[in-house]
């Protein structure tokens, strides 16, 4: 039995926010950004860490990676103390912040990798082989000699991920890696990450707003809300718990009357005189069964399935946890 790669116990982080009141006076409010989190990530596993903006995701990641000191509680990452053993830990983890670059904006990726290899003191033969593998798998060859500032977002993120993996860390931490990426780039990234985990056994901690990321890349989900653990388990369990439904959006060949009464579904909307209709369905039926039932009434020209939005799932989870049932919630963070 090996030690967990991330071990977080009773983690707290308080921030003091000073806001001006009147001309001279300022009020000090203490905000609990992370409020008593405890979880362990076994080596080799993948965790999706989700929550609304301001729920405490980035703060947790900063404490795990040694950027921020906890107010109380303990963190061990790769068995190390993130602050006291920061430099050792830096060799064991790869971190990508989707909205911040860790590359040198004026250097091409090739130069950045050379510099990073020197920083990590990697032997020439080791890092060039690793770089070639990453260039191949992430398809970087066509833009590896272009300065980072001229790259598209998708290219840059791929470059960032290769940079984070160059020293072959056993733990990869990705903060919103797919934000702003187009469908194709997202897909390519997911395939790559799945493959890396299969080949190298890399553990993964991922924060995201994208339900597909969670579904495709992780086997476990933690939802945080106001710095507290709101859910810890798999995706199916989360969807079951909040009763989140997927929505089947149908484009019909000819206008049809509303498709009410299909077993296991609820009609969500009817648009364009019945040319487009949207049906919500839960876990008690399947897309095939729903389609079959619909096929008896109308001809379907095109269809899409909308996954439950993560914000929506989190909101419902929060509402169900506090037992308020319905209502507007209490404002989970910014936005």
């Amino acid at each position: 039995m090996t030690d967990p790669i991330i071990d977080v116990r009773e983690l707290h982080r308080r921030f003091t926010v000073r806001s001006p009141r009147g001309r001279f006076r300022r009020t000090r409010t203490v905000v609990e950004a992370v409020d008593g989190l405890t979880f362990q990530l076994p080596e080799g596993s993948a965790l999706g860490y989700i929550g609304a903006n301001g729920a405490g995701k980035s703060t947790t990641i900063k404490m795990i990676t040694g950027i921020l000191v906890p107010s109380s509680g303990t963190v061990r990452t790769c068995g190390l103390h993130p602050i006291r053993q920061r430099k050792q830990l830096a060799r064991q983890i790869g971190v990508v912040f989707g909205q911040r670059t860790q590359l040198w904006w004026d250097l091409p990726l090739r130069e950045s990798y050379r510099t990073l290899a020197a920083i990590h003191r990697l032997p020439q033969s080791v890092w060039t082989a690793r770089r070639d593998e990453l260039v191949d798998r992430l398809d970087l060859a066509s833009f590896i000699d272009i300065p980072v500032r001229q790259l598209s977002l998708g290219q840059r993120i791929r470059g960032e991920i290769a940079a984070a993996l160059l020293h072959s860390p056993p733990l990869l931490i990705l903060d919103e890696p797919t934000i702003g990426l187009d469908v194709l780039s997202k897909e390519r990234l997911r395939v790559f990450l799945t493959e890396q985990r299969a080949h190298h056994g890399t553990s993964l901690l991922l924060t995201t707003h994208d339900m597909d990321d969670v579904q495709r890349l992780t086997e476990r989900i933690i939802v945080v809300d106001h710095g507290r653990m709101a859910y810890d388990g798999d995706l199916a369990g989360l969807v079951r718990r909040v009763g989140a439904e997927r929505v089947l959006s149908l484009d019909l060949t000819t206008p049809a009357p509303p498709l009410a009464g299909i077993p296991g579904t609820d009609l969500v909307s009817v648009e364009a005189d019945g040319l487009r209709q949207r049906l919500a369905f839960g876990d008690d039926t399947t897309a095939t069964a729903v389609l079959e039932a619909i096929g008896r009434h109308v001809e379907v020209r095109d269809l899409t399935i909308e996954e439950p939005d993560i914000e929506e799932v989190v909101r419902r989870l929060y509402l169900s946890a506090t037992g308020t049932g319905t209502g507007t919630g209490t404002g989970t963070g910014s936005e």
Binding site: T16, G66, I67, K87, F97, L107, A118, H120, R121
Partner: protein, 268 residues
């Protein structure tokens, strides 16, 4: 072994140098601009001496030597560590977080995050003034004066560099405190270019003991030229700039560590 220790920094600086010389014309303009700053500042001294013969008991040649030493020290320190005042930008853009995620000391990464070769323009101005002035100062050349001259430049550069690190450390607390911090670094540079004895007592105390500008060039110049200086001033003080450099670096490193602890939230 030694190569292994320094290699990351060599590669980091190498990449910085390459990126600067990519834009040759802009680099040349920057270099010229920096040279002009040095020349203009010397112009100021020159204008003063067209009106007076002696300033703070120094004649023109001695004042020019003082200016040259201060300028060389400041511009070298500015080239190596001057970009430390970019810390607020680094904090905002998350560059400092990236530093914290790499297996090297954060201050070493901040210092090697740039090497502004364009600041050599100002160094060139200082060296030119030094070269022209030295024969006119009546300096008696000996092993002692040569050692003192070299020591002065090394220690003076180290003192200015430490000042830049102190100024950076302060900015962990004052997020937009660049101007406040500049008062000490650039202010210190200005103070170092003039004989300390011309300033009023409070200013003299500030730029001797708080910001040890007097130790950078004024006191060594007195020692180099064997001048008495203000009454009651022991002549060995001119040899004390290395001691001051060590003290300043101790202060700078303590301040930096405290600042970083404040940033990671250990201190507050």
């Amino acid at each position: 072994m030694a190569d292994g220790t320094w290699r990351p920094y060599r590669v980091l600086l190498g990449s910085r140098l390459r990126s600067q010389t990519t834009y040759r014309r802009s680099f040349a303009m920057d270099l010229l601009g920096s040279l002009s700053v040095g020349a203009l500042e010397f112009g100021e001294i020159y204008v003063i001496f067209t009106n007076v013969d002696v300033l703070g008991e120094l004649d023109f040649a001695a004042a020019a030597l003082l200016f040259a030493l201060a300028t060389i020290c400041f511009s070298l320190a500015d080239m190596v560590v001057g970009h430390a005042d970019r810390l607020p930008t680094y904090l905002r853009q998350g560059t400092l977080d990236a530093f914290l995620l790499r297996p090297l000391p954060v201050l070493a990464q901040l210092i090697t995050s740039d090497l502004s070769l364009r600041r050599l323009g100002r160094t060139a101005a200082g060296v030119a003034v030094l070269g022209v002035t030295l024969p006119h100062t009546g300096i008696t050349w000996s092993v002692t004066t040569v050692v003192l001259l070299v020591l002065t430049i090394v220690a003076g550069t180290a003192i200015f560099a430490a000042l830049f690190v102190c100024a950076a450390a302060i900015q962990f607390w004052l997020v937009e405190g660049a101007e406040f911090a500049n008062a000490f670094t650039y202010g210190g540079s200005y103070a170092a270019q003039y004989p300390a004895s011309i300033f009023a007592l409070p200013v003299r105390v500030l730029f001797t003991f708080v910001v040890p500008a007097a130790f950078i060039a004024y006191l060594p110049t007195l020692a180099l030229l064997d001048l008495p200086g203000p009454p009651g001033l022991p002549s060995w003080l001119g040899w004390c700039s290395p001691v001051m450099a060590v003290v300043m670096w101790a202060v700078a490193l303590t301040g930096w560590r405290a600042g970083l602890r404040h940033y990671t939230g250990a201190g507050s």
